[in-house]
Symmetry: C2
Subunit: 277 residues, 2 copies
């Protein structure tokens, strides 16, 4: 496994890489969710590239950029074990040199949900992902279904801008009790960790109601919200039952629906989702 | 020479193309200025790809999109003669399918000059050029120095977004009397054609004053403006003496300066520039 910090150095290596190249972009502090992406990339490609970069432009002024957890040594050990070929670990200066001023913006699907609560977030995500794609030049890129809206934004960007690669969605990995894996789970104290289960419980409730034939989206939102509100440590940012392409809120579920939520547990903001249908 | 209208079809051909691939993006209605780009691409690459696409997103609501001159048959004959390998001629629907919503925006250098007079123009330019680069996948791309700000915007985009190609600037081709070649020259009636020479005369005056030691940028702007204003058919949008990287207006010329202007001759808006130093 080779660790590369500069794009120029990477480009030289890129020429000799066996194809196809699978790529997993991460912000580090890896958990089983990330490793599932790496494992799938390993299974499907001749070369596996993982990036570790805590991207400042996707954090808002009130977000947790400075506090975002980091443990590069542990990350590298985990990636080595998974058979990663190249780890791309650029500095902030390498990715955003003085005078940087070009951005990729995806309109419309970024107006809602996470986009509405985190202005500028998806501009930062789309821009860094475009930069990483252009640098790494993968055939396939792997993203977790847990960040459902991010996945939609990136697929839209790739399609609209004619980027020549395949975006692969990988199912969310959960703790045994259902909590979706997230680097931010590390912020939770033991009481909050228990309270955080309310996200999965609400999603499970939606799944159950849907299985019993409930197709009224507002009813699902209400039932999930009521369940979450019973947990005193939880504060809802949004609870959504939306069209999985446009992210428009549904009134009636006809085909598939993306059920998603953002809930703050103490100071930690968690997101999760499932797809119905 | 092969004419390709779909990206999927192009991608298949791309795999078999001898490297390096040189690319000339155009809006068609080709003149000697375009052909100089093609000639340089031909001299420097194994494969030459030219695109013809009148990009709707770079025209404003009051711009001349519908009236923009087109003559694809003549264009193809000219490109064949120059030894072009592939002409990529997509439809508007191919490049902007229903629901298109991703954009590349370059900030700051787009605030001034053309950007100030044509809001959204450079967003359209950067977006289509990014799409064409991602589709065509060239090693080198050729742009005319005549669109000086466009060249700066594209170089900035390529650098900021880590696009893996070289942007090559090609000197402006002029009619024998000095008028810069432009597809829009075709709009000029005989009297306007004469009046249009005022752009080159003003640039020549700046060059002459600079050669004699004038380094006061405001003096150059004044002298050029005074000359242009003597021509009753000419209306100035801007006359600029600016830093060639930031496009900030200079007060004193210390290193190099980009002298540029936009002047309306009747209903036709013309731009031109030279670099001093």
């Amino acid at each position: 496994m080779k660790v590369v910090t500069e794009i120029g150095e990477y480009r030289k290596l890129r020429k000799g890489m066996p194809s196809p190249v699978g790529f997993v972009p991460t912000m580090g502090y890896l958990h089983q969710g990330h490793l599932a992406l790496v494992q799938q990339a390993r299974a499907e490609n001749k070369t596996v590239v993982v990036s570790i970069f805590v991207n400042p432009t996707q954090f808002g002024p009130k977000d947790d950029l400075a506090a975002y957890p980091r443990d590069p040594e542990r990350d590298l050990a985990l990636l080595e074990k998974e058979g990663t070929d190249i780890v791309f670990m650029p500095s902030a200066e390498e990715m955003y040199p003085e005078g940087f001023s070009s951005w990729v913006e995806v309109d419309k699907v970024t107006d809602r949900l996470e986009g509405a609560f985190r202005p500028g977030h998806f501009r930062g995500v789309a821009t860094i992902v475009a930069k990483l794609f252009n640098s790494v030049q993968p055939h396939r890129a792997y993203f977790g279904q847990k960040d459902a809206q991010q996945l939609i934004v990136i697929k839209k960007m790739v399609s609209d801008l004619n980027m020549d690669l395949e975006v692969v969605a990988v199912p969310t990995v959960r703790d045994p009790d259902g909590l979706a894996m997230s680097s931010r789970n590390t912020y939770l104290d033991p009481e909050e960790r228990k309270a955080a289960l309310v996200l999965w419980n609400a999603l499970s409730l939606a799944q159950e109601l849907w299985s019993k034939g409930e197709r009224n989206a507002e009813r699902l939102r209400q039932e999930m919200s009521a369940l979450i509100q019973k947990e005193p440590r939880a504060k809802i940012d949004y609870v959504s039952v939306a069209d999985p392409d446009s992210l428009e809120e549904l009134s009636q579920i006809e085909g598939t629906a993306l059920v998603s939520m953002a809930v703050r547990i103490g100071k930690t903001r968690l997101i999760d989702n499932i797809t119905l249908g």
